[in-house]
Assembly symmetry: C2
Homo-oligomer: 343 residues x 2
Amino acid sequence: MNIYDISKQAGVSIATVSRVLNGSPNVKPSTRRKVMEVIDRYGYTPNAFARGLGLDTMNSIGIICADSSDLYLAKAVYYIEGNLRKNGYNCILTCSGYEHGDKESALTLMINQRVDAVILAGSNYIETDTDRNLYIRNAAAQIPVFLLNADMDCPNVFCTMCDDFKATQEAAAALIDSGVTDILYLYNSHSYSGLRKLEGYQSACHMRNIAVSGELMQFYEGSREDIDGVCRFLCGLHEQGLSFHAVLASEDMLAAGAVKYAKLQGIDIPGDLAVIGYNNSLLTTCSDPEISSIDNHLETLCAQLVRTCISVLNGEDMPPKVIYSGELIQKGTTRLPVSGSQK
Amino acid sequence: MNIYDISKQAGVSIATVSRVLNGSPNVKPSTRRKVMEVIDRYGYTPNAFARGLGLDTMNSIGIICADSSDLYLAKAVYYIEGNLRKNGYNCILTCSGYEHGDKESALTLMINQRVDAVILAGSNYIETDTDRNLYIRNAAAQIPVFLLNADMDCPNVFCTMCDDFKATQEAAAALIDSGVTDILYLYNSHSYSGLRKLEGYQSACHMRNIAVSGELMQFYEGSREDIDGVCRFLCGLHEQGLSFHAVLASEDMLAAGAVKYAKLQGIDIPGDLAVIGYNNSLLTTCSDPEISSIDNHLETLCAQLVRTCISVLNGEDMPPKVIYSGELIQKGTTRLPVSGSQK
């Protein structure tokens, strides 16, 4: 017996069931009765329903991320935890790693805790093969699920995202408009957001009538902290004769490796090589020159995600998706006439 | 009624009370009876005692850190959470910030959850004014408290630390032995570990008969992420005529600022300025040249802290302090004949 079953049996929407369970005043007494009758009839109260039924709950929300020590995810966890705390919720943190099976079991374990909701931080929870997202669908049948930077159409799943496609598309278009036609797109994740960024790059090439070459889309398989590995990887491409006058990277770490590569090869930045990273993290100010980077306004995203979460738990109707825009912050590695987002 | 009261009333040690409460088999039946009688007599069972009394617990451990998005603390939270999870414990995360009052209320709130133990990650929880550590003493009267990189003598408090004093002393001594007598010590925290590092620097100067000048110990008050602010700060000192041929920093972020400063002023690294950071973080490989840094083996510290925590919760006797050594990892910003830790 989950929220879908109740909705079906009672002949009301899932949102209405949620409102009843959360004790919202905006429910007709007759509707409330109908829902409660179904719940009573089946005599089953999953943990997450305890709250609405007046039972003791921990006021806890689960945060699952792949790796809380990753620069970007660490910020996300920090912002989400702070906003939850201000709203009187504890956060139970679990790092799931990046493997599908581990993500699935992390979510199952979290559901078995008495959490009121679960937040999946980072786009790597959604895969293109929708069968592999079934575990999230199953979780959402029990408690509301909130996705940071991932997109999924499913009842009781709420997405707060940056439009990574558009931000990357604009940055690539700005590079092309500045005269660079051989942009190396460097990425290290097949996550939802990773693929959207890649598509943004491809779209900009199509829009500007530039052939998208497979050679210019390079996937870096090394560790997420091995900046020197990225540098070696690019030196290898250079030695193989691949020519590129810009590196558009899906992450600042990759961009930092590109800056190191240019220095090692004596290539002038931004004169002979423009570099753009993603996330506008601390790494961008550490490099020399500082790295131009797309800022996806993580603090704003996290604040909104928690607002949505609290509203849903209070039984309010909330839109399933909220989308923000990214913004290219120009620093020392580009000299573009306008920022991508001003185009 | 807390663990001290029970220990006193029952006439047994705190460790014994802990063993009884945790259901350890290594307790004489008569002793167990004595302890249980005291608990029964007062009819009071704090949350954390529930476990030993066979009541339902959440198997949760609280982690409190100042800021989980800080590079170093993010790693600490990640390692601790992973180790706790492997041992079947959830982690409830709270970021307290750096203010005394906020730290105190974060700990109080955490105690009010049904956590079995609390971990304070980061040395900023311990201050030199022992009155200000009373809140930890009070917490330890209720549940075991585990400190990462901080030192406190108190029953039911367990410390896992790196010897920051010795590591900094060795690094400073190695710089002096290489011929640098004007080492600028740059720090940004008055935490326990921050002060131990400062003392290590001072001690090395004393050992090598070098006068410790107040001007050469500079406290940076800016944001913990403002590398450019550190750069400006050092430029200011330079303009005031302060002379220094090495920067020994209490954190990699400060060292990254020093590298930027040297570049801006055209000072050769490591020829005319040696730079040493602390934590051996990602920032060290991002800078050019890469930054020599003291590695305090955070992963090992965190694994040990969790081992101690699980053992204590299982009613085993554990030493109140475990201390590891740090190690200077030489990269591009120093050219010292031997690493500090090999001295």
